[in-house]
């Protein structure tokens, strides 16, 4: 709850309710347990989360959704930040992106039942897309769709978070005149999902392969050939959620480290009294506040539909992904040997933060995007 400093009482209550729920249902020790027992996502946990409103924030009221404050996307960052704080499981990002795509489409009638399933947590969706398609000036993507009778045939492959637990795939594919998006049930013929080993313990990642996957015309989300702007908006939503999650995790890892350094004694004094560490904590506090600031500013830019939103999400991602992984490594260094053990929580944070830094465009990718947006 520190990314946004000015919250309404309702937003504050919403964030606190989410925090209390996560602390009781998914404490960080439970993440290790689930992983050790090779258990997947507890669907009951996710459904309870949706009852708190996690999936309704980007859905218009007429379709069964609703926001807490002025912008559902800003409310969503409150959830993402809390989930980052405890490295929670749950397909918040994937579901939010899919809901964004489905509700932005001018004609939502085809997909109403699925919006309802996503809202209630009965179904989970994952976003199959190619990062290259979101770089300005690059139009090529490995995901393609071609007309086939009344319907379409889809081909291609991509690495997709939450794919192993998904019921539906939102596929952003190259079509002859642009980009078109499709909603595809995972059990459709020609869809295969190979699970990868995820660095993050609470998240499942898979390789989605589409081979001559036949879908009807009703699977199209939005307009044929005209989804490039939608894909850009989905990327912005993904980055806003991801950045909020990363700063939530980073904030918590930093606070745990400060507390540890205050308790841990060496040579007769708390190690946090040594200037060598105090100065590193000061630098980390600076970077942490800067990460909060840029995550929040870009969330508002996307929520307000600012013309600078494409630039500001990439500014935020490039800054956060540059700083956050090394900050957690330094937090581990300050913990000493205990910090690199399995039983300690630090690696759980390192895993989530490192995976977030790499997915949906890494530092280099987003700096390249910024350079192009600057007109250089």
């Amino acid at each position: 709850m520190t990314m946004n400093l000015e919250l309404s009482p309702d937003q504050r209550l919403f964030a606190q309710t989410t925090r209390r729920f996560l602390e009781s249902e998914a404490p960080i020790g439970r993440i290790r347990e689930l992983h050790e027992q090779n258990l997947g996502l507890d669907r009951g946990f996710w459904r309870k989360g949706t009852e708190l409103g996690w999936t309704s924030l980007l859905v218009p009221e007429g379709l069964g959704g609703g926001t807490i404050g002025d912008h559902g996307l800003v409310d969503l960052t409150l959830v993402a930040e809390e989930m980052g704080r405890l490295v929670s499981p749950g397909p918040l990002l994937s579901t939010s992106v899919t809901i964004d795509a489905l509700t932005r489409a001018t004609d939502t009638s085809n997909h109403l039942p699925i919006i309802r399933e996503l809202l209630s947590g009965e179904a989970i969706a994952a976003w199959v897309f190619d990062m290259d398609a979101t770089l300005p000036r690059i139009a090529q993507t490995g995901l393609r769709a071609r007309p086939d009778g009344d319907g379409w045939l889809l081909d291609g492959a991509a690495t997709v978070i939450d794919a192993p637990i998904a019921d539906y795939l939102l596929v952003s594919a190259q079509t002859s005149g642009g980009v078109t998006q499709f909603l595809v049930p995972v059990n459709t013929d020609g869809v295969s999902i190979d699970e990868r080993t995820s660095l993050d313990l609470a998240r499942r990642v898979g390789e989605v392969r589409l081979h001559d996957v036949s879908v009807p015309a009703s699977a199209v989300v939005g307009g044929v050939d005209s989804a490039r702007a939608d894909v850009e908006h989905q990327l912005q939503v993904a980055l806003v959620v991801q950045n909020a999650e990363t700063v939530g995790a980073l904030d918590r890892a930093f606070m745990l480290t400060i507390a540890y350094a205050g308790d841990r004694v060496a040579f007769g004094r708390p190690i946090s009294s040594y200037q060598a560490l105090k100065h590193r904590f000061a630098d980390m506090k600076l970077w942490l506040e800067a990460c909060h600031a840029t995550a929040a500013a870009s969330a508002y830019a996307v929520a307000n539909g600012s013309g600078r939103a494409p630039e500001l999400v990439s500014v935020a991602k490039s800054y956060i992904a540059d700083r956050a992984p090394l900050m957690v490594q330094d937090c581990i260094q300050i913990h000493g040997g205990i910090g690199v053990t399995w039983e300690h929580d630090m690696h759980v944070y390192l895993r989530r933060i490192t995976q977030n830094a790499a997915l949906f465009g890494d530092v280099r990718y987003h700096r390249a995007r910024v350079a192009t947006l600057l007109g250089n």
Binding site: S272, A296, R367
Partner: protein, 414 residues
């Protein structure tokens, strides 16, 4: 400040916009002089116009020449000045640091005597704080002030005074009691720079420029009513100065807003983009990444400033969080200096005189550490952040409770 009956911000903004358009030169129409002394003169002339038009000291009391309006009015004026010549960067010490301190600590008589001319830019004020014997340890000043009847006699040396040779007045921190611990024996004085016994000499920097001065004070006599605050209460006054310095810099001051300044995101990005084009490396991924990194970092700096201002207002952090902004600005300057040198290439180490871009990059490089030193070094900012923002244990200070005349100092290192 009286909050009833004042002009609506929107009306004020319209009036300000019209006045600025008619009276202030646009930045793209003027050629800013290289000579910082000429820039100070330009700033003073502009501040006089702003004062006469009723737009100076927007939140200051009317009796001292201010407008008694709200910070929202002040920010509106600064916003509207964006893109125009701006006096505030050159006059920030007078208007943003010393003026507010006088307002808070001066006697009625001192405020009436000094503030109107300070606000109009008629008098330029500087700070006599650092000494050759020490910069970071400001409470360790060795300059001595001795009471002599109705006046004080000041002896010592001060350094790093920005535009000291253009100044009319200085606030001078001096030791009035050597027998008590260091923080308890200081007093702050208003010193007219033309007083007998003051010698001001410009201090040439590594780049050859000399915006800073060193002053030698030899038996300088000031009347007793030039004491600001009470005798031996100088550390409180100095702390107030530092607080205003940080908040003026960070954009959180209720008395002063410099607006978006020329060194902001547009400045860094434009300079580096131009160097990228000139270098012929527009397609070089490494060079493009560098420009993007600096652009992103400067934007994050603005976002951080807005966050810290909000954070101080809503109690998330203390006023000391201004040190975060100082440290961020210093880091950005370090990276900016490096990036400009890298993109400028060999031309930045051997240039023709008409090549302003290369010269600028080279001169910035030579004094690259300046921003990391002045106004409190990065190391001091890190102490402040760790101790006063994060609440970590304080550094041991063996001199804190000792009478000052028993403290080990750098006496003689001037």
């Amino acid at each position: 400040m009286n909050s009833t009956h004042h002009e609506e911000v929107a009306d004020f903004r319209r009036r300000a916009k019209a006045w600025i358009a008619a009276n202030v030169p646009r930045l793209d129409e003027v050629h800013a002089s290289d000579d910082s002394r000429a820039r100070v003169a330009t700033a003073r002339a502009l501040q006089q116009k702003i004062f006469d038009a009723g737009f100076a000291g927007i939140t200051w009391p009317k009796e001292y020449g201010g407008q008694e309006l709200t910070p929202a009015h002040m920010h509106a004026f600064a916003d509207e000045l964006n893109g125009y010549e701006n006096p505030y960067v050159m006059l920030s010490v007078s208007l943003g640091v010393i003026g507010p301190t006088l307002l808070e600590i001066g006697t009625e008589e001192q405020k009436a005597r000094y503030l109107p001319s300070l606000l109009r830019g008629d008098t330029l004020w500087v700070q006599y704080l650092s000494e050759p014997s020490g910069g970071s340890d400001m409470a360790g000043v060795l300059t001595r002030a001795t009471r002599d009847g109705d006046s004080w006699i000041i002896d010592g040396s001060k350094v790093w005074t920005t535009f000291g040779d253009l100044a009319d007045y200085a606030l001078c921190l001096a030791r009035t009691d050597f027998r008590v611990p260091k923080h308890a024996g200081l007093s702050m004085f208003v010193v007219p720079v033309d007083a007998a016994g003051i010698a001001v000499s410009p201090l040439a920097l590594a780049s050859g420029s000399s915006d800073f001065c060193q002053e030698f004070l030899d038996n300088v006599r000031v009347p007793a009513d030039h004491l600001l605050g009470t005798e031996n209460d100088g550390w409180r006054v100095a702390s107030q100065l530092l607080l205003h310095e940080r908040s003026a810099l960070g954009g959180g001051s209720p008395y002063f807003s410099a607006g978006a300044n020329a060194e902001g995101d547009a400045g860094v990005t434009q300079e580096l983009s131009a160097l990228l084009k000139r270098s012929g490396r527009s397609a070089d991924a490494v060079a493009r990444q560098l420009v993007a990194e600096l652009h992103a970092t400067s934007i994050v700096g603005e976002q951080l400033a807005a966050r810290i201002a909000t954070g101080i207002r809503c109690g998330y952090v203390t006023g000391s969080a201004g040190s975060l902004l100082k440290l961020f600005a210093a880091d950005l300057h370090l990276r900016h200096s490096e990036a400009a040198m890298e993109l400028a290439g060999p031309e930045a180490v051997a240039w023709f005189d008409n090549d302003e871009k290369s010269r600028t990059a080279a001169m910035r490089w030579l004094t690259r550490q300046g921003v990391s030193i002045m106004g409190g070094t990065n190391e001091i900012q890190r102490n402040i952040i760790s101790e006063r923002v994060l609440g970590l244990p304080r550094e041991p200070a063996p001199d804190r409770d000792l009478p000052f005349d028993q403290v080990r100092t750098n006496r003689g290192m001037s």
